[in-house]
């Protein structure tokens, strides 16, 4: 890749689409709506890139096409979906992989300083002092730990041995302030307990650096999409034309099917069917007043919806991961219903109690988090749906029994019986 040094400042836009260099390109370009077809095509194709297509030639035209297609992709998705949607996750993940590959490629080509200059705009980064002793910011790292970190990183990638060209990628070489990684911690893209921390510094390998930086940009992307989405909402007009077309085309590339672990013998879990919910849960879904909000959302709806969705016939288990292989069932199917119900409360539950968002996942057994992963499953208790008698006592205003209610003792029984009858009736 000749000429990279000469074009270095502009090339930073390829590593950081939110850098000033990239913003200048956008500002001096025609509106995204009137971009040439090859850039429009590039905006869609970005989510399909695997390796070489991710690289950008060091010339101004290529850099410009790269930056503009990036913004077109983001704005297109914001115009047809919403923050946190599968479409946003798709472009965020594609961008993360792209950035990671570019960093890897530049390191391989000896353009380490260019990479580091991009990284240092976002993160406090220092080199480890590796000599007789290994130090970071005055703290000594035991040599055994240094090599243990290498071995752990190799093991994470499923490698036992690597050749000398690859090995340096796995040796600790830098350190970043852990507090700079807050955006990644927030979205659980990194876990504090998986970092090797000394005196506030996280010791990392070059591979870690690529991962962290790429994830960092993907988080910025999600925030950017959110800001575009809010602007669209404020404007009151739905974008059409190229933006919508790009958005729709990307949307069509989202893998739709949620994988559910097979082998249920009683096999009655599956997509939620609100028409079969008992009256109390329907009322709770519509939102309730201040005194009942926590009980209705946390104690009634959260267990009810989670068991109804994932546990066959409401079968009790300690961990949701015993039933599902894909966390999107929780994030994309169950949680949105709960968040919407919370929003419909008066006043909206999360307005004055934002911490209760984490409470929802806590009650589903994922511990205190707003970004649950399957690995978190079992970290707290997965609360069970209260019996009708308990609901009657704790939230009498939500108990409006119908005929079937009189025959059952738990709202889940109501749901599964209704659902069974519904399926028999075709």
């Amino acid at each position: 890749m000749l000429g990279l040094d000469l074009i270095a400042p502009e090339y930073l836009a390829v590593l950081d689409p939110f850098a000033d260099e990239a913003k200048r390109i956008v500002e001096t370009s025609p509106p995204l709506e009137s971009l040439p077809p090859e850039i429009i095509e590039r905006a869609v194709q970005r989510v399909k890139w695997t390796t070489k297509e991710m690289l950008v030639e060091p010339n101004l035209n290529s850099i410009r096409a790269e930056v503009l297609s990036f913004y077109l992709m983001c704005q297109g998705v914001a115009s047809v979906s919403f923050p946190g949607s599968p479409e946003v996750r798709l472009i965020s993940e594609a961008t993360r992989k792209t950035l990671r590959y570019r960093m890897y490629d530049l390191f391989k080509k000896g353009q380490i300083d260019l990479c580091l200059s991009a990284v240092k705009r976002s993160l406090n980064l220092v080199d480890l002092e590796i000599g007789e002793t290994i130090k970071v910011a005055g703290f000594t790292i035991p040599r055994e730990d240094f090599y243990r970190l290498r071995d752990l990183r190799l093991a994470e990638d499923g490698l036992e041995t690597v050749d000398d060209r690859i090995l340096p990628q796995y040796l600790p070489r830098y350190a970043v302030r852990w507090t700079d990684l807050a955006p990644l911690l927030k979205h659980r893209l990194k876990e504090l307990t998986k970092l090797y921390l000394v005196g506030g510094w996280a010791v990392i390998t070059p591979r870690d650096l690529w991962d962290l930086y790429a994830s960092f940009i993907s988080v910025k992307l999600e925030e950017y999409v959110q800001s575009v989405y809010e602007r669209i909402l404020e404007s009151g007009t739905q974008p059409a034309g190229v933006l919508a077309q790009v958005g729709e085309r990307i949307s069509s590339l989202v893998p739709r099917e949620v994988v559910i672990r097979g082998g249920f013998t009683r096999g009655q879990a599956g997509r939620l069917r609100p028409e079969f919910f008992p009256p109390c849960m329907k009322l709770a879904l519509n939102g309730v007043g201040a005194g009942l909000r926590n009980y209705a959302i946390m104690m009634m709806l959260t267990p009810f919806l989670s068991y109804a969705r994932v546990a066959p016939s409401g079968k009790v288990a300690t961990r949701m991961a015993d039933f599902i292989d894909d966390i999107s069932i929780v994030r994309d199917e169950i949680a949105p219903l709960l968040f919407e119900a919370a929003e419909r409360c008066n006043p909206p539950l999360f307005k004055d109690q934002p911490q209760e968002k984490a409470g929802i996942f806590y009650h589903m057994g994922f511990g205190m988090t707003t970004e649950p992963t399957l690995a978190d499953s079992g970290r707290s208790k997965w609360y069970r749906t209260p019996n009708c008698s308990k609901i009657q006592m704790s939230a009498p205003s939500l108990c409006r029994p119908d005929e079937l209610c009189r025959q059952i003792k738990n709202p889940l029984t109501y749901y599964f019986r209704k659902k069974y009858e519904g399926s028999r009736a075709g």
Partner: protein, 318 residues
């Protein structure tokens, strides 16, 4: 140590005769006008919220005139604290309540505290602070004796803008609430986890171990009888050697590890830490439920509960 509820008259005496603005710590004094204050005026809960005081004198006037059952200040700083709006940042806070410790060596009943479990809470606070300062490199760490336990309050700018998720990860780190991928490293989370595991395991009794899925009584008894041997294995990071205990197969070992890790998480109330709008008991105020002063602790090692006994209680005991 006598702990009993304070009468309304004793509360009045405390605030009129003993409360002193000099006991309000600097980290609150310097930000008093941007904090929300909450009060429990009659022992029915802190439902008097959204209070703002521009000066410590105003706060003093309120305390003397109302003699609240409990007084609280927010960990958060706001542009408009009286509306709880315009959130600026918040202290990172850890709440170690002696009555809620998941395992303790004393036998005081559920919901009660004694000097022994208060001392255990103090040790936990100290261990947390060591990791916060050492591994996480944080400064400006303050200890507060809350009446039934300790608060660790961190006013380090680098963490005050963190949200709930990031704070939850800090809780995981300092408590040893996640099983690490490595137990052997000399520093980092590996070491924190070993230390927490050692502390928790050392407090366990046979009945506690029987709560582990698949744990047989004979194995639980053996583990407790040979606790020192097991602790040495944990200390050295040789956890796999625990399988040398007859009957401790891989599945039960995993269950035991998960059980201990869950107990670790319970040494602080994570909900307090992740709540960036929480109100915490005001240092300098009276905890009327136990008639003890909530106060800043400058030297945790030398802190004596005697320092927190209000004058009215001392006089009553004489």
């Amino acid at each position: 140590m006598m702990m009993r509820e304070a009468t309304p008259e004793e509360r009045r005496r405390f605030y009129q005769e003993e409360w002193n603005k000099r006991d309000v710590p600097d980290f609150i004094l310097h930000t008093i006008s941007v904090r929300e204050f909450g009060f429990d005026l009659d022992g029915r809960g802190p439902n008097n919220r959204y209070n703002q005081f521009l000066t410590v004198e105003q706060l003093g006037d309120f305390l003397r005139s109302r003699a609240p059952y409990s007084a609280y200040a927010s960990v958060a700083l706001y542009e408009r604290p009286s509306a709880r709006e315009g959130w600026l940042k918040a202290e990172l806070a850890l709440d170690i309540d002696a009555k809620d410790l998941p395992v303790k060596s004393c036998s005081c009943p559920q919901g009660s505290v004694c000097e022994r479990c208060l001392d255990e809470a103090r040790q936990v606070a100290k261990q947390f602070a060591e990791v916060l300062a050492g591994d996480l490199g944080l400064r400006n760490i303050n200890f507060v004796y809350s009446g039934r336990g300790f608060h660790v309050r961190i006013n380090d700018e680098s963490v005050m803008a963190l949200g709930g998720n990031e704070r939850a990860q800090v809780v995981d780190y300092v408590t040893g609430g996640v099983i690490p991928s490595d137990f052997t490293m000399a520093l980092g989370y590996s070491k924190v986890f070993r230390e927490r595991l050692e502390r928790t395991f050392s407090l366990l009794k046979v009945d506690d171990l029987l709560r582990v899925r698949g744990m047989k009584r004979s194995l639980a008894q053996r583990l407790i009888q040979e606790k020192e041997r097991a602790l040495a294995m944990i200390r050295k990071g040789r956890l796999h050697e625990l399988s040398g205990f007859e009957g401790l197969g891989p599945k039960t070992f995993r269950n035991l590890l998960e059980f201990l890790t869950k107990l670790n998480s319970g040494f602080t109330d994570g909900k307090v830490t992740i709540d960036t709008k929480r109100i915490l008991r005001l240092p300098s105020s009276l905890h009327s439920g136990v008639s003890m002063k909530c106060m800043v602790v400058r030297d945790l090692d030398r802190f004596s509960l005697e320092e927190a006994v209000p004058k009215f209680l001392r006089e009553a005991a004489e």
